[in-house]
């Protein structure tokens, strides 16, 4: 037996993440040997049972992959199907989709910033305990979340698994006056989002930066939600800075590893990459509305942020964007003549990729001539970030091995929550296990 001490630190069930996963750090002497994020969320086999279902069912079925970002699933599914059948949703219907997506971003970002992430920085187990000392902040977060939910409920019928989204548009579209009724709430939310940026900027951030390979949608004139080309901060080779959604699988591969029920996604020939708010911000700073750019600069953010702990500030800046965009759409909305565009199924393949709150969500379907799904592929954001999270953990733990176990563990958990990981999504994912061998 060697005199060396190997220790393991394990976190059995990671808290304040969506879904079930665990973290395991293996440490020998003063070196981290391994950092693994295991996903033991049971597999639910969506891609398999989508086979044989009608195209029209895909938005509602895939929404059930994740209760936190159902709109993202509905949107990526609709876009992929419309791509296959050669239809484009434009005008007010396109605006309503963006508005619905803004609702989900506001709900999801407010939940993460105030309920899941801020307690880490302030040293609370949860937002309810945080509320005893910081009632104003928690109440602001809850009310912001509620405004996001109100937008989703109006457009979608309910906030979780909305029932009003269909291929080609909606079942029923709101009247101008119905959207008008929410305008004051969204105006309040925009102010609250600006306050959220100021609140987030005051949190204590560990000094931690890495040179990430950011991947996000890019759109020439708008901050991306539903549409755009895929951009990467390191490009795609051969001088290409962007690719089309249909080229996704030529550049990204999913790997299946023994320690996890989630598939790890890698960018070919480079490996780990980073999706989500920090990636979107870095690749789309120029198309943020001035009010969001200004809030970012007042919070001390540059055009690119490489400290994942500061993702909470970037998320807050995106809250400003989402409230601003929602307001713009609501104020200029004219009720469309028809709630949806008719689609004609055909034997075809289609690709869709939209910006879920946590990053790009890719769907691909192949159909027979009746629109029955022959096969489907879905790559959620957390599967794409998993490798990057493990790298962060490795680096972070290596720098902080001197910390007492409890503190090291909490710091690692916080590093995972930087990504707002959605484990339900990744299994289509977390437990900190620290192994000191």
């Amino acid at each position: 037996m060697s005199a060396n001490t190997t220790r393991t630190i394990k976190v059995g069930v990671l808290a304040r993440v969506e879904g079930e996963g665990s973290l395991r750090l293996k440490i020998k002497d003063d070196r981290v040997l391994e950092a693994k994020l295991a996903i033991f969320e049971p597999p639910r086999f969506f891609e398999a049972f989508l086979r044989g279902r009608a195209y029209s069912e895909a938005p509602d079925i895939t929404a059930r992959i994740c209760g936190i970002c159902p709109v993202a699933y509905q949107m990526s599914a609709c876009h992929a199907i419309e791509d296959a059948f050669g239809v484009q949703v434009v005008g007010p219907l396109r605006d309503l989709r963006r508005l619905l997506y803004c609702g989900e971003w506001i709900e999801s970002h407010a939940l993460h910033v105030y309920m899941l992430h801020a307690p880490d920085f302030l040293g609370y187990e949860d937002a309810i305990r945080m509320a005893q000392d910081h009632p104003e902040a928690v109440k602001r977060g809850l009310r912001l979340k509620k405004v996001g939910n109100a937008i989703m409920t109006l457009l979608g019928g309910r906030e979780i698994h909305p029932i009003n989204v269909r291929v080609g548009g909606f079942y029923k579209v709101p009247a101008r006056r119905e959207l008008g009724a929410l305008i004051d709430d969204v105006k309040w939310a925009l102010d609250a989002a600006l306050e959220t940026v100021r609140f987030a900027a005051t949190l204590p951030f560990p000094d931690f930066e890495r040179d990430y390979d950011f991947v996000a949608l890019q759109h020439p004139s708008e901050y991306p939600l539903n549409e755009g080309q895929l951009g990467s901060s390191n490009g795609f080779g051969e001088g290409k800075s962007q690719i089309s959604i249909g080229e996704y699988e030529q550049h990204f591969t999913e790997e299946h590893l023994a320690h996890s029920n989630a598939l790890h996604s890698v960018i070919n020939s480079r490996g780990a990459y980073f999706v989500g708010p920090m990636a979107r911000y870095a690749l789309n700073y120029d198309v943020l509305p001035p009010v969001a750019q200004q809030a970012a600069s007042e919070a001390g953010l540059g055009r690119v942020c490489r400290n994942p702990f500061q993702s909470i500030v970037v998320r807050a800046v995106e809250l400003v964007f989402a409230c601003h965009e929602a307001l713009r759409i609501m104020e200029s909305y004219e009720t469309p003549e028809r709630p949806f565009i008719e689609v004609q199924p055909r034997a075809s393949s289609g690709y869709g990729c939209t910006e879920a709150p946590r990053g790009i969500l890719y769907h691909r379907y192949r159909f027979d001539d009746h629109g029955v799904i022959l096969d489907a592929k879905i790559v959620p954001p957390t599967a794409q970030n998993q490798k990057t999270i493990e790298r962060d953990l490795f680096e972070l733990a290596s720098r902080h091995l001197d910390l007492p176990k409890d503190e090291l563990q909490w710091r690692c958990e916080q590093a995972i929550r930087n990504y707002d990981p959605c484990i339900s999504c990744a299994t289509h994912f977390l437990d900190l296990r620290l192994e000191k061998a």
Binding site: R16, E41, A48, G67, E125, P339
Partner: protein, 266 residues
């Protein structure tokens, strides 16, 4: 000095699910801090790092049983819970992932995963009640958050929750809404689906797709006849029953009958 009354312990447990039903609790923005004041949130990993040991006054269980480990875990939860309530279609009927019950699981694993041998999974996705005694079932994919608040407060005060078992149809009628199936020929599962959503879909000019699962004694066969009359094909009827509550017995049987008829057609 009298000791402050001990608050009952509430625990939230997750099995195979999308997290949507437990998120409903966090979506009670107006009630959340009050609920947190009235009970001790003893285990709710999605919201808190803090874990308090049992026994628990009330356990809310989300998700279905799909792995050998989970089939064990639910028994320990039952033993430490005075009341155990299932929330949502996954926990009460097996959920959308019960679609595996009608396919070969090894094949399905191979479709999603390059190394099926790394995956520990059962052949069927089953509801919690197949494994342990359940005190109350809350329907929906997802549950209705107002029903969830009503249920928690009723159970903690020892009264019967006001959660009707009649159909979505009744909710339309109470609202004075015109039936979209008779008036407009939109196929709707409202007559066989349990109430609770407030007849949401018909209000959006969409037929109910049964996310709250079968009502008490549903006449699914007669509804299928109406659907056929509206021109809905056998395969589409089959798929309608075989979605979010596919493994709930009345829906399972109705789907199977269309499977047979479909095979006889060929």
């Amino acid at each position: 000095m009298p000791k402050p009354a001990k608050r009952p312990k509430l625990a939230v447990w997750k099995f195979a699910s999308c997290d949507g039903c437990q998120l409903s609790l966090l979506d009670c923005e107006d009630e959340l801090l009050a609920i947190a004041g009235a009970v001790e949130i003893a285990n709710f990993p999605e919201a808190s790092r803090a874990v308090v040991g049992g026994p628990y006054a009330l356990s809310l269980v989300e998700g279905s049983i799909t792995t050998p480990h989970d089939a064990e875990r639910i028994h320990a939860i039952r033993r430490s819970s005075r009341m155990l309530v299932t929330i949502g279609a996954c926990a009460t009927a097996g959920g959308i992932q019960a679609l595996r019950n009608f396919k070969n699981v090894r094949e399905m694993t191979a479709i999603v995963y390059a190394h099926p041998e790394y995956i520990a999974t059962l052949n069927k996705s089953t509801p919690i009640k197949d494994h342990v005694a359940v005190d109350f079932e809350l329907r929906g994919c997802p549950v209705n958050k107002f029903q969830l608040v009503e249920l928690i407060s009723a159970l903690l005060h020892g009264r019967k929750p006001n959660i009707p078992a009649f159909s979505v149809c009744m909710e339309c009628k109470r609202r004075g809404a015109i039936c979209i199936m008779t008036a407009r020929g939109i196929p709707c599962m409202g007559p066989v689906t349990q109430a609770g959503c407030g007849a949401l879909c018909p209000g959006y000019e969409r037929g109910c797709f049964g996310c709250f699962g079968p009502k008490e004694t549903p006449n699914s066969h007669s509804l299928s006849t109406i659907w056929s009359g509206l021109g809905v094909g056998e395969q589409d009827i089959l798929r309608a029953y075989r979605t979010f509550n596919a493994n709930a017995e009345p829906f399972r049987k109705e789907a199977e009958s269309h499977e047979r008829e479909h095979h006889q057609d060929h």
